[in-house]
């Protein structure tokens, strides 16, 4: 009896270890031979400088202003209806197309019902839907409605980039070997990146709709892994001075950080003039942001920007 029991236990132990090993291996990215680009451990993407833009002719500038168009993928949850309504009434209006994706249908919510609770599966489905419905839009911005975005500054950042090249941009975070874009501060994908992603989705092995490793990865990491399979790497969006453009905190929070550090110039040290996202603001604060960003300004400070973006039709708060 005892000998049977002990070999049973040994068998269980061995099997358990084997299982553990298998799932561990499964969650490793396969040995991607590091190409020369990989040797640079940190990818950055910077907004164009005025010099770069000055080299463009006027007709080219006009053409570019119209050419960069953004499809916003906004992932909402019915239980926080007010955020959906706020995103729709504030920054969403500045997307060329803003589509809301919901986990379940709700009468009051105008959104694509993904009929899905799993976070990664939701993102997976939403991105596929976006790709299939993008029309001639070539840039994709993925965010939750708790994020506030300034789409014009996003357009400025990717202005000189070709969407037929793969781009995956935002605030990058390193987790071990994996560098991924933080979801909270918004994710930017070029058409080519999305195309490759949708392609690898078909591969149930590399990029399953439901994560199968023992330790569930967050959807932002899962996205990075899938993109990495296709040779697309995360890049940190920065202004010409190297300041991050994608923020996972609110303006107020970032100012507080600056004040507690006793910075000499709190505002200068806070955030970029051309910031693209902030997060963690209440719906009311977002309405104030619309005023602060699109209207409130000092008379006589004129900028000679190289692009023209017109205010959206039928909007009263910008």
């Amino acid at each position: 009896m005892l000998s049977e029991g002990s070999s049973f236990m040994k068998g269980m132990a061995l099997g358990g270890i084997f299982c553990l090993l298998l799932s561990l291996l499964g969650s490793f990215t396969p040995g991607m031979q590091s190409s020369p680009e990989d040797q640079h451990h940190h990818h950055h993407i910077k907004a164009p400088t005025n010099d770069e833009l000055q080299s463009l002719s006027e007709p080219q500038m006009v053409e570019l202003s119209q050419k960069v168009r953004v499809y916003c993928v906004i992932m909402v949850q019915p239980k926080v209806l007010v955020y959906w309504a706020t995103a729709k009434d504030t920054w969403g209006k500045h997307c060329d197309q803003a589509v809301f994706y919901s986990s379940e249908s709700a009468k009051a919510l105008e959104a694509v019902d993904l009929n899905e609770q799993d976070e990664w599966a939701k993102l997976h489905k939403a991105l596929k839907h976006a790709y299939d419905n993008s029309g001639d839009l070539r840039w994709f911005f993925v965010a939750r409605p708790t994020t506030f975005a300034i789409i014009e500054n996003l357009k400025y950042l990717v202005l000189a980039k070709d969407p037929n090249e793969p781009f995956y941009i935002g605030h990058t975070v390193k987790s071990g070997e994996l560098e991924y874009v933080e979801y909270e501060s918004g994710i930017v994908l070029s058409y080519e990146a999305l195309r490759r992603l949708v392609n690898v989705f078909k591969d149930g092995e590399k990029c399953p709709e439901r994560g199968r490793s023992l330790w569930k990865l967050s959807e932002e990491k899962q996205l990075a892994i899938c993109l990495k399979y296709t040779g697309v790497f995360a890049e940190n969006g920065e202004d010409t001075q190297g300041k991050g453009l994608f923020n996972s905190k609110s303006v107020g929070s970032l100012i507080e950080d600056g004040m507690s550090k006793n910075s000499l110039d709190v505002v200068e040290g806070c955030c970029s003039d051309l910031a693209i996202t902030f997060s963690g603001m209440s719906p009311n604060q977002m309405q104030v942001m619309m005023f602060g960003v699109y209207r409130l300004r000092p008379y006589g400070h004129n900028f000679h920007d190289s692009l023209i973006f017109l205010p959206p039709d039928g909007s009263d708060n910008d």
Binding site: S65, G252, I255, E256, V267, C271, H301, H304, P311, N317
Partner: protein, 312 residues
């Protein structure tokens, strides 16, 4: 420019007229650098002396942040207190306390008239929790004559027949208005009859024949605000006047129409919010965005329900 799924021909919808607008705007964009010469010219033309009503207790917690943000945009800035310090503050012959505010105001104007009479065209009074956009104030004043007896601010209706200006939102007196205020006290036509500083000053203005101006912009939107932006900007269903708008002389608006793009002030603004407003006003902007409101352009789009703009 919203695309709808049923409308694939949106590029054609970006009509010829808009393309012309885009092109003509681009052709006027020559300079690479941010152009501040307009603001700089105004600074020479409209000499503004600002004084902040403050006290020893608030220098570290409040006034410091004003000094770090908007104060030095004035042609001259004075911090009025009961004690002279290296902040620097002017020590007036007053004591501290809410009931001393009108005394402080009287002494402050007397000090300014005595020491700086020739240094200004206009004098702004603000609290140590007021955020002011000086360029926008100068713009409003550039259309006015400082030799005239007039003052501007957020006009309130009660207590004084011609109305008076909210103290918290800040008020600005013409050179002549300051002279008459001083004269009023010299000749005992004005007295310290109340501790309510803004109302009492408003009464003296009325007594001395100083006109209360209309500070609203060309679209009838308010520029001086006695509360922070979120008090006014949040869209609300139509309702009767909430308590904080009861004093307003002109019919107030809630929602985006509350406030001018060229807003002059907000009140009850403390440290973090002071820097936040500074960042939103002077730093953060949407690249390439063509603002809707352009008060100088000849054909400003008029809205059917815009009240007739009065001077200023």
């Amino acid at each position: 420019m919203e695309l709808t799924p049923n409308n694939p021909h949106t590029e054609e919808n970006y009509s010829i007229s808009k393309l012309h607008l885009v092109h003509s705007t681009i052709t006027t964009l020559k300079s690479k650098l941010k152009n501040r010469s307009v603001a700089a010219n105004l600074s020479q033309k409209v000499r503004l002396l600002c004084w902040i009503m403050t006290g020893p207790k608030n220098l570290e917690s409040r006034t410091k942040h004003i000094r770090a943000t908007w104060a030095n945009r004035c042609n001259k800035i004075l911090y009025m207190s009961s004690v002279e310090t290296e902040f620097p503050t002017v020590g007036l012959n007053v004591t501290e306390g809410r009931d001393q505010l009108y005394w402080k105001t009287i002494r402050a104007f007397q000090y300014i008239y005595q020491h700086h009479r020739n240094d200004y065209d206009w004098v702004l009074k603000a609290d140590d929790d007021t955020f002011v956009v000086i360029e926008n104030l100068r713009y409003t004043l550039s259309k006015q004559d400082p030799e005239k007896p007039v003052y501007f601010g957020r006009r309130f209706r009660p207590f004084v027949h011609q109305g008076y200006m909210s103290g918290g939102a800040g008020y600005v007196l013409s050179k002549e208005a300051v002279r008459r205020f001083i004269e009023g006290f010299d000749m005992a036509k004005c007295t310290h009859f109340s501790i309510i500083e803004d109302m009492a000053l408003g009464k003296c203005m009325e007594t001395m024949g100083v006109e209360p101006g209309d500070s609203r912009d060309v679209k009838g939107r308010q520029t001086f605000h006695p509360y922070p932006p979120d008090k006014y900007l949040i869209k609300k269903p139509p309702r009767k006047r909430p308590w904080f708008l009861l004093y307003d002389y002109y019919k107030p608006r809630e929602g985006p129409e509350c406030c001018s793009d060229h807003t002059v002030s907000f009140h009850y603004i403390y440290n973090v919010q002071m820097y936040m407003l500074e960042y939103l006003t002077y730093n953060l902007r949407p690249y390439g965005y063509q603002y809707r409101y352009n008060p100088d352009s000849a054909g400003t789009e008029s809205e059917s329900n815009t009240p007739t703009p009065v001077s200023a």
